[in-house]
């Protein structure tokens, strides 16, 4: 039955638990509205014929609705509309509230690709691997303009906003490959911003992610006994950027060279800073790390000692990631003078 309806309505395959809910309500709404509209339309057509004009200047009766009629006009649609809304809002709340045991995947939209990152695993571009029958939470952000992450077969969609994480979750029900589209207009190649979700059976996914992780660790000659995440540098920058946001660094430190409560991160690395005790210091990894853990130790001249310590708040790799992030803000073209644009990639 629903297969037939799917074909009539051109709905793509329903491949997530949310898709089943959406489709059920969809049939209810579409079915009811079609019947109601047809009713109104047929009544109108009947009356056009029944009450056709017979004389050019025919007089008509003065007919006005009773209060009961008007009440009916209001209440019947209202009851249906509110019922649909009630079911719809329940499902909406459900899809915007990820279960606690969901696995996380970071999604970043960028003109014009989708990047995926697993907290303990690989990065990927334009291909997202997920296990079937396991809830997956997507933490979505953007690096430049608005994008929107849309998987028709899962019936999920969430905008990607620069400077903010949004979330949505899904549980894929069928292994297979599903298309990801961008639905928020994002410039020249908006329609080419495609990706795919590969849903693997749960066991295959576990094997896959293990292999991905092992491959990464083997690349490192000095693989540590600690098998927790030791990310490669490229990813650390992204992670650091996120951390700088989530840890509040960016509340006081700008990344575009502008004046703020603390010194700007832009071009900070390898800069010669004048300290408040008159000495100069070269900003390096050590100085940055020290400043995070003991901010007052070497205060840059002109700034107040207001920064809280991050000792104990940041894990080793997180500190490293933030340092890497600050280092990455040292590109040749933005190092000189004041910033001329946002710190994220300029739009061409």
């Amino acid at each position: 039955m629903s297969e037939l309806l799917n074909n009539i309505l051109f709905l793509p395959e329903a491949a997530s638990t949310f898709a089943e809910r959406v489709d059920a309500l969809h049939y209810f709404v579409v079915g009811t509205t079609m019947v109601m509209s047809a009713g109104v339309g047929l009544a109108a057509l009947f009356m056009f014929f029944r009450y056709r004009r017979r004389l050019p200047a025919q007089a008509t009766e003065y007919v006005v609705p009773t209060l009961k009629t008007e009440f009916l006009f209001v209440s019947v649609p209202l009851v249906f509309f509110l019922a649909w809304f009630g079911i719809g809002f329940r499902d909406f709340t459900w899809v915007t509230t990820p279960p606690k045991d969901a696995m996380d995947v970071y999604v970043m939209g960028k003109q014009w690709m989708w990047k995926f990152a697993y907290p303990e695993g690989p990065n990927g571009v334009n291909v997202l691997h997920v296990p079937a029958n396991r809830p997956v939470r997507l933490l979505i952000t953007s690096r430049d303009v608005l994008h929107s992450f849309y998987v028709p077969s899962f019936r999920i969609k969430q905008d990607a906003l620069p400077g903010r994480y949004t979330q949505i979750w899904f549980e894929a029900t069928k292994p297979g490959t599903y298309q990801v589209l961008c639905t928020e207009y994002c410039g020249l190649s908006h329609s080419k911003m495609l990706a795919e979700v590969v849903v693997l059976p749960a066991e295959e996914y576990d094997v896959w992610i293990k292999e991905q992780r092992r491959g990464r660790l083997q690349d490192r000659q000095d693989a540590l006994a600690d098998t927790s995440l030791v990310p490669p540098v490229a990813r650390m920058v992204e992670q650091g950027q996120v951390l700088a946001g989530t840890q509040g660094c960016l509340k006081c430190h700008s990344v575009d060279g502008s004046q703020h409560i603390g010194p700007t991160f832009l071009g900070m690395f390898d800069r010669l800073e004048r300290l408040d005790d008159g000495k100069d210091i070269r900003v390096d990894e050590a100085y940055i790390t020290q400043s995070m853990m003991d901010p007052g130790a070497h205060l840059v001249a002109g700034y107040q000692n207001v920064m809280p310590t991050y000792q104990g708040k940041l894990q080793g790799p997180e500190t490293a990631a933030i340092v890497e992030y600050i280092k990455s803000l040292r590109t040749a073209n933005i190092r000189e003078g004041a910033s001329e644009g946002p710190a994220y990639d300029a739009i061409q």
């Binding site: 339309g41 008007e70 509309f81 079911i87």
Partner: protein, 556 residues
Amino acid sequence: MTPSSSIASPGAAPAHDEHHDHHPNYLVDGTTIKSWLLTVDHKRIGLMFLFWVLLFFLVGGIFALLIRVELLTPGPTIMDAMTYNRTFTLHGLVMIFLFMIPAIPAVFGNFMLPLMLGAKDVAFPRLNLLSLYIYLAGAMLALWGMLNGGLDTGWTFYAPYSTHTTTTVAPVLFGAFIIGFSSIVTGINFIVTTHTMRAPGITWFKMPLFVWAIYATSCIQVLATPVIGLLLVLVTVENLFGFGMFDPARGGDPVLFQHLFWFYSHPAVYIMVLPAFGVMSEVVAAFSRKNIFGYRAVAYSSLGIAFVGFFAWGHHMFVSGQSTFVGGLFGVLTMLVGVFTAIKVFNWVGTVYKGAVDFKTPFAYFCGFLFFTVFGGMTGIALGTVSLDVPWHDTYFVVAHFHFIMVGATIMAFLAALHYWFPKMFGRTYHEGWGLVSAALIILGFNATFIPQFLVGNNGMPRRYYEYPERFQALNVASTAGASLLAFGFVIIAMYLTYALLYGRASGKNPWRSKGYEWLTESPPPTHNFVGPQPTYPEEPHFYVDPKKAEVPDAV
């Protein structure tokens, strides 16, 4: 197409010639270019608006066809991606700001409102003329910007894309900003006219429903337009000088942009459809020779839509990252708009009950309108059902939905108004057969264009796509075929109406035997609307009861 002196009043019967010697109709009272360009007559201003609005409709329509041709094949067809992005931006901007918003209020509102209120003109005739020139100045600036450099943001100008793009944002946004003033000025003028210039006998609840609709529309225009004006300035400034209102890297918030944008642009939908509802109330009453069933319910629901319309904007942002609770709130408020619209629909159908239906061209458009409003409204309710909006948001389903309710309903009303009031405005009649044929073509073409878009949206095709996956093609081809049918219908209308304008038969004063107030005066009306004493208004408009057996109940 500016009417010239060659369109003398053929409507005048010989017996009335005497009158016309002293009171020429407004079309021939002064025939110099200057007498038109500097006129303060609301009827002439309405006609000039009609000319420009039709011209911009043509421009927007040509760009719509270019879009449809481009989408015939999944890959590039006739243009490159950048040209396509500029094309749909131009289509949206021209159609919305230059056609849909002024179409009915500035043309028919201007022309009919004073006639329906028994007034000699609008309250501020010079301001009225000014609004035309403000509109033209803004339109020219925006078009200049769009053709020199182009704009590729879509008509929604979403930040931060619009604040970063290197295309010509500033002149276009500033043009739209200027057009906003025209909208505000017109709104103020109509509000004041309605409050102060009603002829003796016309109480609030004896005003024609078209006046109610225009009144409600004007309230929205005056209250909402300043918001988008400010927003456009903010975006321009951010684009030119790098302010940080909407840029998260500078502490701004891109979602703030959307709130400000939709706070205007959602009520703007009602700026477009409320006048359409008003026209239809007039047409259905006139052609079924019946008083409006539930007059007060229809009048109040116009105000209701105008009011609730202000609190529904967030339904454009269910997946934008606003909170779930807020999504629910906007969802429920959206449902109320649906209920108010349902009241209108039921009462229009009720008006036909025990009427005397004359199935003329305007009534054919009423049928199309009924279908588009119900279908468009119902899909709107479906979109307001929060969870369903998640997959549909920003797909062709939404495109099809708003074309149905906003464009379909408005175009139906615009054409119905054009045909219903054509004899009033020009004193001539058009060929009824061609009218019905083209109405059928347009209604058919419209459905053939947009029903496939509902389906392709269901299937997951996002809007503003230059290229698309192969599986969407069949429906896109169907949609393009429908669009050509639609365009063909418009060509026919243009031909027979132009012919009617030049050679049409004289229509007489009131060819429809309508009891709308605007038909109490001559067709076309004399310069100051009435010859001799002001007409009296003993009955409510559209009172078709046989006076001999009239037992008029007090209006409900």
